[in-house]
């Protein structure tokens, strides 16, 4: 793909530049241009690209450049962080009412509404133990109701429909009546796909909105969507006052710049990401992953991050505090191990902890080797697995092992190490609480 060379090209440009202490209009100019191209190739809307890069420039002007990086790299990092901040939102959870929660899905044709309705039903029934009713309001597309019916059946979720000769507003009303009287927790309404310029069909949605007052009105946006996505979203938002967005088909190789455009223009939170055709393929939305994806300059960002971390003394303290926290994840483990590496050898760490046996050089080398193994094992886990290592049972374990080209035994070893460390952290915390904490740690 065209993007792969981008970060190389980028680094090429900056080799030519001298390192300076501050970011200026001039030393950022070509970097800004490259960022623009990257964003446009990721389908971020033209106007958004323009405004966003202006924001970034304003933010970056006058900032100090880290000694180890050049202005361009620094700028990309700033841009990346800005992206993450923009894409992240506070209210990404579905709002659940005390009684019945009603959710309406809407969007253009073929965006993935019906499948997402099934996925949400799955999440709510199987993960959150809610009593769910699915309602089919798409009376237009041939076999749309059948499609949702099949999904409902697969999930063992109740399904409500009134055939294709009914009025969707009526169906919604009846579905809600049923849901209320039969004690459902959630009603999910799948509506027909429509163009935002189709006045008649947009009015239909407005009417449903009026009679139902859905708790959530979610817009489905295809990850492959181009420049126009932002106009579509703002039209739907104007008519329906959306509460959020679900981005579908993120398991493809599209960059998904529409996510940024919509977030930037409308502020709508992106609540979920569709990552496959199965009903379990619904993920929460990860802003930083999305930022990487859109910008396509992950390596530059990581590089700057590392450079920053290395000089950030506070990080060490923060890590130490985190270590005390019993519920730390594989990610934390990996980060800690890296920290340790950065702080010098394991020996010097050991010296910091009283009562720790002395470590020989041989042991150090061994530990360093181990570190590599740990890293590749953890890297081939999904973020979910890293956060919940307990879920790593048979097939997942096999996959992870295959992914990093190591054996199951080695995967087991990593998990065991995590368990041990977790235990150790807990004990340390106990120490800390009882005031018997070894010096140097846990100072607040």
């Amino acid at each position: 793909m065209a993007f792969e060379s981008l970060s190389e090209k980028f680094q090429g440009i900056f080799k030519k530049l001298k390192k300076e202490d501050k970011l200026t209009e001039t030393n950022m100019a070509s970097a800004i241009k490259e960022i623009r191209v990257a964003l446009l190739e990721a389908d971020v809307n033209f106007k958004v690209v323009k405004a966003f890069t202006e924001d970034v420039k304003a933010k970056a002007l006058g900032q100090d450049v880290l000694t180890k990086v050049n202005p361009g790299e620094m700028l990309i990092k700033i841009c990346h962080d800005e992206l993450v901040e923009l894409l992240g939102a506070d209210n990404t959870d579905i709002k659940y009412e005390k009684g019945l929660t009603t959710i309406m899905l809407c969007g253009l044709q073929g965006a993935g509404k019906t499948t997402s309705a099934g996925k949400l039903a799955n999440l709510m029934k199987n993960k959150l133990n809610k009593k769910v009713l699915l309602a089919g309001l798409d009376v237009y597309r041939p076999a749309a109701i059948e499609q949702l019916g099949v999904l409902a059946h697969q999930l063992g979720v109740d399904f409500f429909e009134m055939g294709t000769n009914s009025n969707p507003v009526n169906v919604a009303e009846e579905a809600k009546k049923k849901a209320l009287s039969e004690g459902y927790d959630v009603l999910i309404m799948d509506t027909a796909g429509r163009l935002q310029i189709d006045e008649k069909l947009m009015n239909e949605l407005k009417d449903i909105n009026k009679v139902i007052h859905p708790t959530e009105v979610l817009l489905l946006v295809d990850a492959m969507a181009g420049q126009d996505a932002v106009n579509v979203a703002s039209a739907f938002n104007n008519d329906l006052r959306l509460t959020g967005v679900i981005m579908s088909k993120l398991d493809g190789d599209a960059k998904g710049g529409a996510a940024l455009s919509i977030k930037y223009m409308s502020g709508l939170p992106i609540k979920f990401a569709g990552v496959g055709e199965k009903l379990t393929d619904l993920d929460i939305f990860y802003p930083s992953r999305m930022a990487d994806r859109i910008l396509g300059m992950g390596d530059v960002v990581t590089f700057v991050e590392k450079a920053k971390e290395a000089i950030d003394e506070k990080t060490a303290e923060k890590e130490a505090k985190k270590m005390m926290d019993g519920n730390f994840t594989l990610d934390d483990l990996l980060r800690q191990m890296k920290m340790v590496q950065k702080m010098g050898s394991l020996q010097s760490i050991a010296k910091m902890i009283p009562g720790m046996p002395k470590i020989t050089d041989e042991q150090t080398a061994q530990a360093e080797k181990e570190m590599k193994i740990f890293e590749s094992v953890i890297n081939s886990m999904t973020p979910y697995e890293r956060k919940h290592p307990d879920c790593l049972k048979f097939s997942r374990k096999n996959r992870v092992a295959k992914g990093c080209g190591l054996t199951n035994a080695e995967v087991n070893r990593v998990i065991r190490k995590w368990e041990q460390s977790k235990e150790m952290m807990k004990q340390m915390k106990q120490y800390q609480k009882s005031g018997k904490m070894p010096g140097g740690y846990g100072r607040r």
């Binding site: 793909m1 065209a2 191209v37 446009l40 190739e41 990721a42 389908d43 809307n45 033209f46 253009l108 044709q109 073929g110 965006a111 993935g112 237009y140 597309r141 041939p142 076999a143 749309a144 059948e146 499609q147 949702l148 019916g149 099949v150 999904l151 697969q154 163009l195 935002q196 310029i197 295809d222 990850a223 492959m224 969507a225 181009g226 420049q227 126009d228 996505a229 106009n231 579509v232 088909k249 398991d251 493809g252 190789d253 599209a254 960059k255 710049g257 529409a258 055709e277």
Partner: protein
């Protein structure tokens, strides 16, 4: 070289055929449109400058034409403007259309829209694309088009995967009044293709249209499945599938090129149907696809009904693209 000159050169050796006439006619039409409609932009400028070109760039990018092709086009224009001292915005716009038109025509062979039928025996059309782009609906539209022309059409429901997909095509078949071959749910799509091919041979079918499940182009196993379907079909009917259409949704952004590239790798794409052109997206990605891969657009989808299909008309298309959405 301007477009008229180009066409003259391109077609002068041959007799004036339908195509030439069609394009010349189309061209006159789009020239007119330019003079009257497009030039809200040119009216704001008495002569072109950097800003003018930037605005042109914006129009193209906002139509999903893509950064690299846009830059290429605008650079060509800039050169031209410098070389020939063209400063009149109206002239520049004409040049742009010419450049795009010529670029499109030159970038690949086929500019025949209609399905090319075999002399005898069934002609097979395979329809592919990513999820939700409008494959099944386009099939209904194409079936109608050729049934109206007196062809015997058979639909083959080889999307055995998506819930309700077979029912969807069945409903279309009954509306159209044409036969349909279906298989088992979650069965092997290649075996449905086999049944379809067999039925077509035995029943004097002119056109077999195969619906396939939507698949994202980065899923290797699903892409291989298409290869298998192709092989099964070609075993049953010589040289089949004779046509393979890739469906591209007009709302698609830059990923469209990746789609075309990947589908082209596993099957012989003979054309694109660009759907949902009744919406506000311009589908400019088809120009990048043509530019990079030479695949032509054959039809456009303009709605959800079975009548809503038209032949692709380059002039009309380019014109619509450049008119912009006025925002």
């Amino acid at each position: 070289m301007g477009l008229f000159a180009f066409l003259k050169e391109k077609f002068s050796k041959k007799d004036k055929n339908e195509k030439t006439e069609k394009y010349e006619k189309g061209l006159a039409k789009s020239r007119q449109a330019f003079a009257s409609r497009l030039d809200d932009l040119s009216k704001r400028y008495s002569s072109v400058n950097e800003e003018y070109f930037e605005e042109l760039e914006q129009i193209l990018i906002e139509a999903d034409v893509g950064v690299s092709l846009t830059i290429k086009l605008v650079e060509q224009l800039l050169d031209k403007s410098e070389e020939e001292g063209i400063k009149d915005p109206v002239k520049i716009n004409e040049e742009l259309v010419d450049t795009m038109f010529v670029g499109y025509v030159e970038n690949g062979g086929n500019i025949t829209n209609e399905i090319q039928f075999r002399e005898d025996g069934p002609t097979v059309l395979l329809v592919e694309g990513v999820n939700g782009v409008g494959k099944t609906t386009s099939i209904a539209k194409l079936a109608k088009r050729y049934m109206d022309k007196g062809k015997k059409v058979l639909l083959v429901a080889a999307d055995t995967f998506r819930a309700g997909a077979v029912d969807q095509l069945k409903i279309w078949a009954s509306r159209l009044g044409c036969p349909i071959i279906t298989g088992k749910e979650n069965g092997d799509p290649a075996s449905v293709c086999y049944d379809g091919a067999k039925y077509a041979k035995e029943n004097n079918i002119d056109l077999v249209i195969v619906d396939t499940a939507g698949r994202l182009q980065n899923k290797a196993n699903l892409m291989q499945e298409l290869g298998k379907m192709n092989r099964v079909i070609s075993k049953e009917i010589p040289d089949a599938p004779h046509e393979t259409f890739l469906i591209i949704d007009a709302t698609t952004g830059q990923n469209g090129v990746s789609q075309a590239k990947s589908f082209k790798e596993v099957s012989n794409i003979t054309g694109i149907v660009i759907t949902k052109m009744d919406g506000t997206s311009k589908g400019g990605i088809i120009l990048s696809i043509r530019d990079e891969l030479g695949v032509p657009v054959r039809f456009i989808g303009l709605g959800e009904k079975m009548e809503d299909l038209e032949e692709f008309d380059l002039d009309e298309y380019l014109n619509g693209l450049l008119v912009g959405n006025g925002k």
